[in-house]
Symmetry: D2
Subunit: 346 residues, 4 copies
């Protein structure tokens, strides 16, 4: 039984980690760290956790963690995570950072996050935790940079087609749609029920920090120096769920059946990826509460485009679930350990 701690214990990412770890057979969650609420019991903020957690949240004490803990999940905001992650760099602690701090180059980080980046050595040691694609590097490090929610859905849909030369890497449009939990727990005009309900709200058009993240890992796969994609994101009046609808120019003559077959081949050892039959497309509800990523595709011969839809639960495969999946891979446990439950439906 490995001992785990969550740092940044009161956001939605942390809450979802708690839910999932509770069913994990090899991990025991022993500490929840919160700088703002240490000393409090978590169920004062989250009554749905009543009767579950006996101990109050604690202050961060890195030294103590290194001695007592095997696995650390960083559910802290971007900017803070990189400092804490650095403390575990040369230790045996397995650390998964759910923030954006370690995902992109320091140059891009400065441009898109407008903050001081992590050290180059930390960025180098961190493996990008898109489990299905980068499993080899994940196994060889103790620091994981867990992917963003949009990049997870986008890259899982795009990479098999790019690797198979079905689509071009130039001219890709990604139309992202996310539930409101993606905007975090902080109350604001943007997350107020009365403004968000019965509403589709575009946000960060042309400026979303997940753009360079998607570009970087497309680049790694296609070995091209520079890849540019267009990403737009929209808040949808639902709590959970994320879809990327993607449009990519075809690079060769193909058809829907062939494309579906290539996806199935690519993901034949990936238990969390489900490919829809030709003519069918996933809905976000098909994956709610689960670690699945469901993918559908259509070759539009009229316009010579491949249309891909990719659906995840933004808090599971888009955050906490993939974090645990990465820990499973790092420990050479079955990838599905603690994650093999069905979606909650309806």
């Amino acid at each position: 039984m490995k001992k785990a701690a969550i740092i940044g214990g009161t956001g939605y990412g942390a809450i979802e980690l708690i839910r999932l770890l509770d069913s994990h057979p090899y991990i025991e969650l022993t500490k929840i760290i919160s700088q703002s609420q240490h000393g409090e019991l978590l169920d004062e903020t989250y009554p749905h956790l009543a009767t579950y957690l006996a101990n109050p949240m604690e202050e961060l004490n890195v030294e103590q963690l290194i001695h007592e803990i095997d696995i650390v999940f960083l559910a802290t905001p971007a900017g803070i995570a990189k400092e804490i992650a650095a403390s575990f760099q040369d230790t045996s602690v397995q650390c998964v950072d759910l923030s954006g701090d370690l995902r992109i180059s320091s140059e891009d980080y400065q441009t898109w996050y407008e903050k001081k980046p992590a050290s180059e050595s930390l960025l180098e040691v961190a493996a990008y935790g898109l489990t299905e694609v980068f499993q080899e590097k994940i196994k060889q490090t103790n620091i994981i940079s867990n992917p963003g929610c949009f990049p997870t859905a986008a890259l899982l849909g795009l990479i098999p087609m790019l690797e198979n030369n079905i689509i071009e890497s130039k001219g890709i449009m990604i139309d992202g749609k996310t539930g409101i939990s993606g905007a975090g727990k902080n109350p604001s005009a943007k997350t107020h029920f009365s403004t968000t309900n019965e509403n589709v709200t575009p946000y960060k058009i042309g400026t979303h920090q997940h753009t360079p993240e998607i570009e970087r890992y497309i680049s790694q796969v296609t070995k091209e120096a520079s890849v540019k994609v267009t990403l737009t994101t929209h808040l949808i009046p639902m709590t959970r769920g994320l879809m990327c609808t993607m449009y990519a120019p075809l690079h060769m003559d193909t058809d829907t059946n062939n494309v579906i077959e290539l996806y199935k081949q690519y993901y034949k050892h990936s238990p969390f990826i489900r490919i829809r039959k030709p003519g069918e497309f996933p809905s976000t509800k098909d994956v709610t509460g689960s670690n699945y990523c469901d993918i559908g595709a259509y070759v539009d011969k009229r316009t010579n485009q491949l249309i891909i839809t990719s659906a995840i639960d933004n808090l599971v495969k888009g955050a906490a679930g993939q974090a645990i999946q990465n820990i499973n891979v790092m420990n050479e446990w079955d990838e599905k350990t603690g994650l093999s439950f069905l979606p909650i439906y309806p």
Copy 2:
């Protein structure tokens, strides 16, 4: 490993049983019976189950079930269930009927359901599966009548107060609020998104068939010949979740602290009942996806009433979860087996 079958495999109750049984360590779901869709794969209707179920649904063959199956869940509509349940009456098959067929007296059934009732002998052998309250009888039979969703929430809130003589059994009002999944899977004007969304809709005012069910089991507890309650029900624009807000005349001088303490005493061995602190009340979201029933109470000294709120997930504690909880009790497994997961939040 016990073998289980679900009869009536395509409604929401069945779908939720499938989700929950998938995590149960001692039950293997081996057959899904559907008269209307046998021969089809379930994931044609429910893509969220893709990759999960390999075998097509089957036709009902009671003889075969008796030989091959240990546990049967009846997720068929009222009127049909009682015929099938009767087939298992003198067998060793453990049978949980999720319909209303076996819950009330034949007289009340004729009045409120306007159908021919089950045989007296079947009604007699069936135990009412409100697990926390009727555990002894549940252990002694092979036929369980699983409670309705409103009766589950209402009775779990009322019975401890009635048994402790805190409230009178005359003059109880139950204001029920349920998510739309409670209206079932059948498309109708009543379940259409455009009519239901942004709407509170009262229905079956004064005529809801859960009324005599609540009255009957209050009667059993208070040993009164006749108990009458008022139940109103409202459709709320959410998929899951059910709340009963209840008003009962106080029978003695008491206060909120005392009442909360009595609830805690009453449910001290009931892992799925969580009692809120004085001044706090559960929301339906606190129990989503879980088998919990959360209860809050307030003594209103101004009007000499006890106000009780009781929240469940209508598809879990209000249906499939409680069905499995009853099977756990019948088999002398820990009550929480396969059901000990946290609510999904937010």
Copy 3:
């Protein structure tokens, strides 16, 4: 053409006043006063008002208002409104206060609002603006205390039955359900989409400040010294809409048909009250965006209770619409002026 000003221009009440006044043939909205945002254009906060309002919001200048303005709507929070209302007490300005400051006795105000009450003379001059019931006093004053949203729905359902001696005033339960806009524009954990969506949340159980308001005006109608009702309130995952489900002990032998007939008689000159046929009950969506209050009733002979459901749009009949209706009555315009549009459906 009368000139109007709104004081407290950026909350939902004000926004709804702006929408409704825009269609009023005899009122011109010439000033919007906001202490916190004066100098700004309203469409910076509310882009849906783009192209509508040319002038920036202004600071409060009571003297100027008295000279330039005929009608003032106070959409300020409780506690602030009473000071401003007092300035118009002996002027010719018609003033409608949408806050709770002038609705209840100073004693009750201190108890339930925990603030210093308005002066007795102001409380005396203010007419309670439940238009259908208190029209005579409304015509004789220049200060209106606009009713709260729950009291509007509750009293319109209860008063005809109390005046006709159908129900007793003792033992009335009011189960209130409101859309989230009722909690105001301020972002908080309570109004966050992710916590509110897919959720029913009871709040202020036993402590809601609308309780003494309902009691006071029942008292005025029944001429009883002290009336006590039980009010509970629940947040429902919808933006607009409010329903009160009410339970009252019958005072005489009657039936549903008779009760419906009495309602129709009572409201025969009230264009905004619609009574449902026996067996039918209004949904909140039936009145969305309109000034209607729809009422249904059922005599439950089993329990000797009258069950009443009353539905309004909390921002229209529950706030801005009734405010304008009161101004219409004060000016002897047709009650429906500027308010005679149909509900928006679906």
Copy 4:
């Protein structure tokens, strides 16, 4: 006062026409025709219309309509509308067809609708009622083909940029998002609350019949023989509202400010089009209940794309509101007559 009839009186389009016509000063709605429900009162199906409509719905009698009625709105399904519209072809009745029957060439109609098309002469006489763009032709005919909801939002966003040569007509992607009312009133699995709520559902990917409609009117504007666009559509868990997020290759070097300025120029005489400032984008809620189309745009220099978002209420500007706007233009009334109300917010 002109007399109007609605044919197909019980769908959402008709219900919205009723709401809007109720406020129109020059049109009196005198007949509602329903083949399936004639003889019934509309408020039996739609209680929100109670007290409004005294006369029962009638059977279709074209001869009588020609003699008694000035304006006919066809809110019948595609396939039926064209037969009825033909009856008014050489009469003085002004006829607006809200179905897709008269929008595209007979060839495209056969391909995309898989039905027999309208006669060539009827197609010729019908003007495409995208009011802001085709006003001249609208004034010269008595048969209007009212645009589809997606084409309205898409074309209003694209045409000014195409006419100004800002974007290329090849390579345009339109990502459409619509509220569930767009799927009509018919109950189905697709419109069931429990499947639709908390869900984004792509539908008709590559096969939506609005695709050739958008292409045809781009063609008319650009004078190109053949234009191909990619349209995808998604059901969003809200009742009303429609957004098109569009991606188009830039044809020249430009920037966001310039593009916004060109939009403002193009629509300077169009009271229902509101252009957002650079950096701002409309939400669907900004136009709910109103006839506005709000547009935002962003020049993405990184990828050389123009990103456009265009928001309408699918039942108003996307159906009933634009129909009335067209009638206003045909009668040389102010375009805003009966439509100049503010959006309902929140």
